[in-house]
Symmetry: D2
Subunit: 350 residues, 4 copies
């Protein structure tokens, strides 16, 4: 941490900063400059609360030099963390994992049909919401536990592991019982009670970036999960808020190489929520893979025009199949390959 003093700060002001830093248990090193003095805090263990120093007279600015996260940082652990949600389905290797399926689980038939269609097209995992965070209390909120049961059936039919969202601690325990990976949605990215709860579980977690979250915020939220002992965390870019409302969100693909440099955790992208428009999902899924994503999660519905939610951004199964072909070629162009559906699936007759 660096404490930048005003150019008119007095020696007493500088002294007070030094003493406060020492009171907090760290070492202070003043560095006089041409027009102002800067005081360095040595020994920062990531727990320093700068606001106490910021409030002292003569202080112009407090600059955090060390990152506020630790366990998620690549400085702390250099090699990639590989998160395996089912045998053969791993994030963080040279293989790119495709997660596909409908926005919501609507019925047994719908989710099983969707699972078969996306598996046939080349998906490696199944998505589908049983608990839906909807901005209106009057919208369809998901089938709940029954939706989880249908997802388990679809997995049994196709061999595809299941990724699905939990909205609270109770739901997280239910999801952990039925699914292979617990999704924490954008709206709950800073729901610290929920982050701590899934941090105590032994299930992989897919953590989506919040709509107003900086990359540092995203990594801090992941740090909550690792701090509780669970390092099986996949991060996901899904679009952030911006001033142009032509798309639902602004899909920030640069976040992919940035996160991969800062952290050892795998990073995937969601072009469906990232754009909110079906005909933009395809080019942006391609772009995500070209940018180096470790996977993509995309909405595919057997009959999008009858979907109970997000119909307008769901792909038709044949669109998804063509997309997979393009993604395979782009992967090859950058020295990567698509993960192949789980071997067990061969025995389930798809």
């Amino acid at each position: 941490m660096l404490v930048v003093m005003h150019n008119h700060a007095t020696p007493e002001d500088i002294d007070r900063v030094v003493k406060t830093i020492e009171e907090m248990g760290y070492t202070a090193r003043p560095m006089p400059g041409g027009t102002r003095t800067t005081v360095g805090l040595i020994g920062n263990d990531g727990r320093v609360d700068g606001s106490r120093v910021e409030a002292l007279p003569g202080v112009a600015e407090v600059i955090h030099v060390s990152k506020p996260y630790k366990q998620v940082s690549r400085e702390w652990r250099e090699e990639n963390t590989v998160v395996t949600i089912a045998p053969g389905v791993s994030f963080g290797t040279s293989e790119i994992v495709l997660i596909a399926g409908p926005c919501s689980v609507e019925s047994e038939e719908q989710i099983v049909d969707a699972a078969r269609a996306v598996r046939a097209a080349g998906a490696t995992a199944l998505r589908g919401g049983a608990f839906k965070p909807r901005s209106s209390p009057y919208s369809f909120q998901g089938l709940g536990k029954r939706g989880l049961e249908f997802l388990a059936l679809a997995r049994q039919e196709t061999g595809l592991p299941v990724v699905t969202e939990a909205l609270d601690e109770e739901g997280a325990h239910l999801v952990a019982e039925y699914a292979d990976c617990i999704q924490i949605g954008a709206r709950n990215m800073q729901n610290y009670s929920l982050l701590r709860a899934v941090g105590k579980m032994r299930k992989p977690v897919l953590l989506k970036r919040g709509m107003a979250a900086t990359i540092t915020d995203l990594l801090m939220s992941a740090e909550y999960i690792l701090a509780e002992g669970n390092d099986q965390v996949i991060l996901c870019e899904r679009g952030i808020r911006s001033f142009d409302t032509m798309t639902r969100n602004l899909f920030d693909l640069t976040a992919i190489p940035i996160v991969q440099r800062l952290s050892h955790l795998p990073m995937i992208a969601d072009p469906s929520h990232g754009t909110g428009l079906r005909d933009k999902v395809i080019p942006m899924a391609r772009a995500a893979v070209a940018a180096g994503a470790d996977g993509i999660i995309v909405e595919v519905h057997p009959t999008p025009d009858r979907a109970l939610s997000d119909g307008g951004q769901s792909l038709y199964p044949d669109q998804f199949a063509r997309l997979v072909t393009e993604l395979r070629a782009i992967g090859t162009a950058i020295g990567r390959s698509l993960a192949t559906p789980a071997g067990t699936a061969a025995t389930v007759g798809v």
Copy 2:
């Protein structure tokens, strides 16, 4: 809802939109224009999911004409809702309520001292966090239940009602037991499980705007609480994310008159989090009152330079006292007055 067709949409495309609207149980009214046709959906009860229609061929755009919220709307209820958190402490009248106190409850002595100081200066309610949502898992997370007990003691000493945050359902029940108003913080504004939980309680709720929340989003989150039966909701502007990092957040004061026009719920402002800088809190608190806020919530600490959190944005008690004097004069300038501390306080020897 209005469905705008492409200028090259065929009569079949238009027909399909009409039939889909009718299938959904509403009336469709096509309106041919100079270059394109628009189809109106009549009978929208606020539950229409536009994405199904948006996905149809020939559709250019779906425009929502009715607001997606209902019970929070001033169209639904014209007169102000008055939220009373303690005898004589009401939001939504011509009186402006001042809530003040430290960011966190740190000890019995600290919170009682703070309560006495802010009461003496003219505050009408006490704030102070027992459960703290911190971006780092390694930061001070609050005293929890013990913090609530200290807040109850401070109320007993000063007569000031207590506003404090809950982070999850379990915490909300605890807060309801000890405090007079449950705060839902910005990070949990779209934690729908928590919104539903407090919607079922019979305690006033202070709902803060999320960092990426539009005003519509804020009202939709309030709608969740009202939909469960609790209409004692106070809304609060506390700054949103913007591109200029010179302040912690961008304090959107225009939200005050906008919310007051759209909704019957009271709307207050938090200049401490809204700016994050002590010397900006004072002018922005004045501005909030001038813009018509029904109250302000401001951080005041007996010794800000020793605070465990947010020291840099907390006012000294004497700064707060001078601020109250200015706010009183500004209130008078626009035909309003400051709420006076609860009568019971007179008997507790402050």
Copy 3:
């Protein structure tokens, strides 16, 4: 400037940074920390281009400690700059200056009527566009030179000095001939050719903040004008881009106290463009004054529903008159007063 090294930077990396800084003509001071080394650059005169150092191996981040502006900074000149656009009409004193008038000059009658109305209500200066920057090439673009002549007539009739916009260098010379203050609009805030041109003139300049401009960007643009020798610059907050489209712009009132602390230049606010909605202009004009603005510029039209531009955000003259009364009371509450119309006006029979 501080150069933060990676925690795995080698002694050679650090050495290379030191040598590069020395080659650039400055002094380097390495400061080893607990986990990484920081190298300070001493002697920064505001012309250091950090990107050269940023590109060196082992460098994690370059942090600018000194502000990139100089002549506009309060560190360079402590007392307020007072900008006088006409006898008795000065920005940067304890008096608050009210500039009012229509968006566009539409006819001689319209601008003279408007000038009389706003003067009667208490305005101290007249606004009105002759050159209009419109987002559509097919919209009304202003009366040009004829508009300037009408403005000069309105000044003659009322004694109010005139503030009006220039879009390019040629226009700036014309405006300087007819008006008392040249406005540079938000869209041209980083039109450096235009900034240099008005920097060479001897006319006061009103520089509006761009829609994506940070406060530092705004001050840097003002620095361009001062660098050419013209220090008669008034800054103006007029709303920035944000994600909520309910208002035309997001009015950032916190910018007022921030600019006033960082710079000696006067800072005013434009609640008309800042909100874009007539019924929001009034509370936000009050808020701007309460936040400490040195003036406000507001759109008033004799017949807003017939305006050729911005009718929806223009006040009726009687609304403006009531607003002035409120602003006077708020000014008093914070120890300031409204500037009074120029004395010469008394002789023109208004």
Copy 4:
């Protein structure tokens, strides 16, 4: 245009809206709904100014259904506009054009070296700034006319056509004399005087998106150029302002397929300014091509660590050569190819 009335609007209010629309020369069609009436304006030719109607009593909202632009719209012209800046170098076909070169022209040797290097690696056009818009008046501002002469020399040596920026009308005429395509930078995207000036020329224009510009704003600025008679316009995404300052700008790749759907003009991307960080330029250039960009413009410098500007985001020539190989493979994956350097170059001995 649709005028949405308040639910409590009176028949007189509706009548007044109808009459105002008719006075403006259009047809009004009221459409009563369940809770409110909407009035359609028929015959909108793109010149309607909604603010006049917005100001009428009883009006809740004015919604623009027709796009405000016309000549740039794909509805107006279905097939792609192909912009040819030199024989064999065309934007808007299935070929992807690579423009590369340094941020600034620094010397004859530097620009000729750079041109040779990027040509050898596969670039089809040369970039390099002679007039530099710098946020500080004290930074290097470019070599001006001498820089243009050096660019012309580099073209003579390599056969690569030249793209370079103009900051004002005078500069645009100079650029047109020496270069093959006039660039209008992000800061001047709404400098309407400059847009009109290049609209009157017969030179291709590269128009970059402004930092706070919506896609509609970008298209409106292009409309200014087409309205003056010049339809040789290439659009360019180069990053917009966002709340995360980890990158210089937020690179909005979704803008590529959106613009290509709305407009017939070619759309390219600038990953150098879009990210501001050398190691992010490579993945994001790949992503831009995968998203469907008609070209990319990228900063390459013979010796980035000695660059006078933007050294930190310039590629080394060998990095660029590897990138071109990857882009070629990604192009193939989506059915496109890279444009090949101009045939004339074969005779200049590169």
